[in-house]
């Protein structure tokens, strides 16, 4: 399957006794010292899906692509872009799939509304039922 063929984690493997190489040319540390920027980066990164993992966010994923994407998120935020703009950039490259929560628009609202409707509807049902059951005449 094509998908499986191109799944990649961050670790370069030479399966000989020589061991693995560190593949990154990137000298930027994964976590910088600017705590506020890091916090904003983490907040956005937690909403973006790692393309090569199973459902992890790029914030959680140790894979190299996820870390590169996270670096890019940080750079874009530092350059003044808003979180919405950063997310829009990734959506333009990867499609809506890259967002870990479906944007609450249009048909996607269905997923957000179901729990609310169930609680409200079920709650109303219970109120109605309890009232009926507590006022019904008792049968012998």
């Amino acid at each position: 399957m094509v998908g499986r063929a191109i799944l990649a984690l961050s670790f370069v493997v030479a399966t000989s006794a020589a061991g693995a190489q560190v593949p990154s040319n990137d000298s930027t540390p994964r976590i910088t010292t600017d705590a506020a920027l890091e916090a904003r980066t983490s907040a956005v990164a937690a909403q973006l899906r790692c393309p090569v993992c199973q459902g992890l966010s790029i914030q959680d994923s140790p894979s190299e692509l996820a870390q590169s994407m996270r670096s890019l998120v940080r750079d874009q935020l530092a350059a003044g872009k808003t979180p919405e703009q950063v997310k829009a950039y990734f959506v333009s490259k990867y499609g809506e799939w890259i967002l870990l929560s479906p944007p609450p628009r249009g048909f996607n609202l269905f997923a957000y509304l179901v729990p609310v409707l169930v609680v409200l509807g079920g709650g109303a049902l219970i109120v109605f039922a309890v009232r009926r059951w507590t006022t019904a005449p008792s049968a012998s």
Partner: protein, 677 residues
């Protein structure tokens, strides 16, 4: 030429099929003709199914252990280099073996159900046995069809690729799948009894619930343990530092747990008040459907997930089975719903019954939230043609309010009496726990939690824990006053006097531990990553880690590269951790194994991210996760509560409250209902 293992295994499965079919046909015929001696034949089929499935499973284990690569499943997951322990547990490591294991567990349950209950009068047990056989039939068809593990491989390969490396890294792999199957498959039993109750005309009585009670508790206990074990495995093996990702297969195990929990509570309402009979049928059928749905989702390749086994025709078989079960279940429940609807009565809205109704509401809402979220990518793709993701952020956001509500209810339910709570009751039971709420909220703020949900969870746990504890202490004190017992004796006797109730409270405490562990570790987790040379240090959560060594070693099936780090307290070494990367010959990417040091207050979690081949540097990711061990401990307490609550007592149970049901008495069991097959 098939080996002995292949012949025995495949042969056993082939022979099982006609036995099962025979059993299914005999039951309705025997009931119709009133020939209870023919039922013995059907029960014989159940026993034969178990014997044959056992033979097939043993043949497979033998084939695996002796490296019989002429058997297709062994050729797929076996390897001469795999250690014996992991070879044995690879029985459930891939699709065909897991189906075989499922079929065996199902046959075991069938055998036990019949052996324990066959002397019972009436048609409940025969129809329940028939239902279990019908489910077995599906899996037997799979095993001689698309999921055949005993296909002959020719020419016989000299060696195999071994099981998926992720399944060889941790001992929990021996624990999680069997527990999961015992729980999952066990949910077939209440379903079978529910179907049996409707078909035999006994659904108006509460007997089927009493008969199944122990089975449901046991399955629920196994499923709870399985979910916790799965979380623990994910945490220790997958290396991302988390324990729950709302992955479809995790959700698949969680969904039936939610409806089963709802059923455990609403069953009590049915036993005491004769109400919610149709609703309970819905819950039981729904729980079973969710187990099959979960299997379908993970085995059909329809949703990609960490667990997805395969694509192929097996998905269509499951689809057919789900459709049949849904239609059958819907017909059974909807068709009998007006006959079963009770004209019951509640004494008061302020009562435990109402709280249980709310409990069911929120558990059902939770289930539907997770179900919709899991299936939504499918729906969106079918409707809009666009692929969307529904991941952690969505589920966390939508489920937190529901979890908060459930935690609060867990404090209210035990506090309120059945039937009616007077104003004095309400005051004396519901107000004191607020002290606990305020106390734990203060604790949360003191340890540094600022997330509002974190504080709310702590507060509600404080409330509910106090309420549950007071149930113990008030009851024990009453015994001390009345009988002069010491505190320990009073506690023990109190629990023995009503195991189900107090076992439930113990399970509640387990949930409280889990909730606190999840809340703390999500809100107060800290993380740091550094590339170190030997002798260099890094800091995490006030602790110092020093890289002592980077090493490699050869093992038969893999090469391991690891880093040894010392945990320093000042200049003293208080412990070492060895995160590793495992390189399997058959895999391109290495499998990381993190190393974790667990303390009562939290975990120090290290992962080896990368290293230089000359061993000069290692990149380490360190995470401090407060209170994570409370999650595993809480899971253990939940299971303990299930054992206490579900353990059958030798003494006669207390008679339930009189059932106020004005419907006419149900017909005597021997008269068949009008729609019997």
């Amino acid at each position: 030429m098939q080996s002995v293992n292949g012949l025995v295994g495949h042969g056993a499965l082939l022979i099982a099929l006609p036995f099962i079919a025979l059993g299914i046909i005999i039951v309705p015929v025997a009931v119709k003709r009133g020939r209870r001696d023919w039922l013995e034949l059907a029960y014989g089929a159940v026993y034969a199914n178990f014997a044959l499935m056992t033979a097939a499973a043993l043949a497979m284990i033998t084939a695996l252990v002796t490296h019989d690569f002429s058997v297709s499943y062994v050729a797929q997951v076996g390897s001469r280099e795999t250690p014996l322990f992991y070879t044995i547990i690879s029985l459930w490591g891939a699709l065909e073996g897991s189906i075989l294991f499922w079929a065996w567990v199902l046959s075991l349950y069938g055998m036990l159900v019949v052996a324990i209950n066959k002397s019972r009068a009436g048609n409940l047990v025969p129809y329940a046995a028939m239902t279990l056989l019908a489910i077995s039939l599906f899996f037997a068809i799979l095993l001689i069809g698309p999921a055949n593990p005993f296909l002959n491989v020719s020419p016989v390969p000299a060696n195999g690729p071994g099981p998926n490396p992720l399944l060889q890294n941790h001992i929990l792999m021996a624990v999680h799948p069997p527990l999961l199957y015992l729980g999952y498959v066990g949910m077939s039993v209440p379903f079978a009894f529910a179907v049996g109750a409707v078909l035999s005309g006994e659904a108006e009585q509460n007997d089927w619930i009493k008969v199944t009670r122990t089975w449901t508790m046991a399955s629920w206990g196994f499923l709870s343990a399985a979910i916790i074990a799965g979380m623990w495995w994910s945490y220790e093996v997958l290396g991302w530092g988390g324990y729950w990702a709302w992955d479809p297969v995790e959700n698949a195990s969680f969904l039936p747990w939610l409806t089963a929990t709802a059923f455990l509570h609403s069953a009590m309402v049915q036993e005491r008040r004769g109400m919610l009979r149709v609703w309970n049928l819905n819950l039981v059928v729904g729980t079973f459907v969710l187990t099959i749905l979960g299997t379908f989702l993970t085995r059909s390749g329809i949703i990609s997930s960490v667990h997805a086994f395969t694509t192929g025709t097996i998905g269509y078989y499951f689809l057919a089975f789900i459709t049949i079960v849904l239609v059958f279940g819907g017909v059974i429940v909807a068709g009998s719903s007006d006959r079963l609807r009770s004209k019951g009565k509640l004494d008061s809205a302020a009562s435990r019954e109402t709280v249980f109704l709310l409990n069911n509401l929120f558990l059902t809402a939770f289930m539907l939230t997770v179900l919709v979220g899991t299936l939504f990518p499918l729906v969106a793709e079918a409707v809009r043609g666009v692929k969307v993701s529904v991941g952690g952020p969505f589920f966390n956001r939508m489920s937190l309010p529901i979890i908060a509500a459930l935690l609060f209810l867990m404090g209210v339910g035990p506090a309120l009496p059945w039937k009616i709570a007077s104003k004095a009751d309400l005051k004396s039971k519901l107000i004191p726990p607020t002290v606990g709420a305020v106390f734990l909220a203060a604790v949360a703020l003191v340890v540094g939690i600022r997330d509002p949900y974190g504080v709310v969870v702590f507060a509600f746990v404080g409330y509910a824990a106090t309420a549950n504890f007071r149930e113990f202490s008030i009851g024990a004190r009453a015994r001390r006053v009345a009988r002069g017992e010491s505190w320990p004796t009073a506690f023990v006797r109190l629990v023995e006097g009503n195991r189900r109730r107090y076992g439930g409270y113990i399970a509640h405490f387990g949930v409280f531990f889990v909730a606190l562990g999840v809340a703390m570790s999500s809100t107060l987790r800290t993380e740091h990553e550094a590339t170190l040379q030997r002798g260099m240090t890094m800091q995490i959560a006030g602790r110092t880690l020093r890289l002592q060594d980077i090493w490699g070693r050869e093992e038969p099936q893999r090469q391991v590269v690891g880093a040894t780090l010392e945990i320093m307290d000042g200049n003293r070494v208080t412990g070492t951790l060895q995160p590793r990367m495992n390189f399997y010959r058959t895999q391109q990417e290495p499998v990381p194994t993190p190393d974790v040091r667990s303390g009562v207050l939290g975990d120090l979690y290290l992962n080896l991210m990368a290293f230089r081949p000359d061993g000069s540097t290692a990149t380490i990711r360190a995470i401090y996760q407060p209170l994570v061990p409370w999650i595993w401990f809480g899971g253990g307490v939940v299971v303990f509560g299930a054992i206490v609550g579900g353990w059958p007592t030798a003494r006669r149970r207390r008679a339930p409250a009189p059932v106020v049901v004005p419907t006419p008495p149900s017909p005597p069991p021997t008269r068949e209902p009008e729609y019997a097959a």
